[in-house]
Symmetry: C2
Subunit: 340 residues, 2 copies
Amino acid sequence: MALPVPSADRSAAPAAPSLEPLFRLMSADLERVNAVIVARMHSPVPLIAQLAKHIVSAGGKRLRPLLTLACARLGGYRGERHIAIAAVVEFIHTATLLHDDVVDASALRRGRDTANAVWGNKPAILVGDFLFARAFQLMVQDGSLRVLDILSQAASVIAEGEVHQLMTANDTATSEADYLAVIEAKTAALFAAAARVGAVLAERSADDEMALERFGRNLGIAYQLVDDMLDFSAREVELGKHVGDDFRDGKMTLPIVVAFARGDAEERSFWRRTLENGEQRDGDLERALGILKRRGALAETLARARAYAAAAAEALDGFPDNPLRRALAEAAAFATERGF
Amino acid sequence: MALPVPSADRSAAPAAPSLEPLFRLMSADLERVNAVIVARMHSPVPLIAQLAKHIVSAGGKRLRPLLTLACARLGGYRGERHIAIAAVVEFIHTATLLHDDVVDASALRRGRDTANAVWGNKPAILVGDFLFARAFQLMVQDGSLRVLDILSQAASVIAEGEVHQLMTANDTATSEADYLAVIEAKTAALFAAAARVGAVLAERSADDEMALERFGRNLGIAYQLVDDMLDFSAREVELGKHVGDDFRDGKMTLPIVVAFARGDAEERSFWRRTLENGEQRDGDLERALGILKRRGALAETLARARAYAAAAAEALDGFPDNPLRRALAEAAAFATERGF
């Protein structure tokens, strides 16, 4: 798995925050999660196995299952159940990715062709359903109704968030509150649930459980804010998908919401033409980027993300200061300083 | 809800089998299921509520939740939990319908525009996910890990069956065994689970539970066989969807599998052109229908369906002979004698 490496020009400054300490501390557990994922994606239907292999080998940061693993251990959990539950979290995430890529007609993710681009929409939809069902089977085998409750609730909120996002697309009247409601549901709900079930496995107090929930939720919001910024500002090779996809889809992400609010009449007319009417021509993405920078919309988005990341780190205050807690706090900082 | 009415020209013969007795016996319970469905489809996201209303008001036979209700009562269950679990069964079914209609690009179901035809594929996919997640939330609230186990297993098998069906599409080498494996997974698994959870609620013996599972499974196979026959032979206004959709999609249903096996070289070349190569022109559906009739493929499909329906009715033998058992047996007979 590719890990971020501090770039040379930062070598005099403090090392850039990284996921590496979290990966290192949880690597043995994470390998077992990967083994469960491979084993439980198996199906007598060959196309499911093929598609599953494509997804698994594409990797990804495995950030959500890492949260479950690390929060369970941070809570003092010594058992084995967190392995299967972390796999459940990744299955739910992968199922939503498969459906998202169909909904957005995305062709590239994590630097590879999407499943829908390779096999078409039909298997991508149905294998998403399969993974979702399989996630619930794994939870049933674990046998905790509390875990089932938290993750089925998250799954339902994610779907609501995705539909809400559809409704705000192409609508320049979308408010910051609408945008935040969308990302809290479609992204942060699963981060929150992933962290919270770690606390449940560790049988922590309700306060500790909600602290880890808050950690995950704030981290998830920070992560999505940066995702939406990177959609405009990243280098494509690092991002692993096409820059400007959200703009082409008419998605009302925070950079756009901020730039629209701060824009003059001419800029608003540009946003209306490109996003509401979907009339985009050569050079529009570059012009959009110019406006976003001039209006400070990308910087504002990053500033918000950093505030959420700080809130995430703060939520860990009640836990003992140890390498794992520091690695989780660093993961929150990484969320806002990453280039991919 | 429209109920089948025996047609006048059958009045001298024994009355045609009907779902009416089952509906009548379970109508109070079914009304409560409908109320739970409406209440639990609610979402703060308006598009979910709109789409849900469209689906609910389209009705359908509610056959699967009826199985849960009736099997619970047949087993002597006196409680209330079967209401929510029947709603779960209908949610899972509706979620798969939403995704099926996207996968098949269907425009008409139950005589109405499909959700994907009205709102597009994106909300149809995402509301399917929402309903699926909501089904699991309802089960978690019920709190039975046995019920969760049976229905999450069914959901996973359904998705496998749908993917398997994709793989047999356009493949004239599809065998009867392939076809049966597909329909057992994509259709009969939910019928079987719906009936079985009724027995679980009633706390029947393992033998009784498996007898009701067998009832549901055989009924589901019979039901799908007839569905696949009606796709060629039904009157469109009764069917509520377009005749010949499966043929246009290149689906290898039993009528085609039988006709291909019995066909001469010219017919096989016709099937290869229309189904494998997807080259269809005006008059091909009529020609297909002519071959299916001449080769006895529709009659053969119906004969198989009747055998499965008889096996379904037989599975009820161990239960006391009462109006409810007779109504369930009649529902099995109805499955093969219906025109829609």
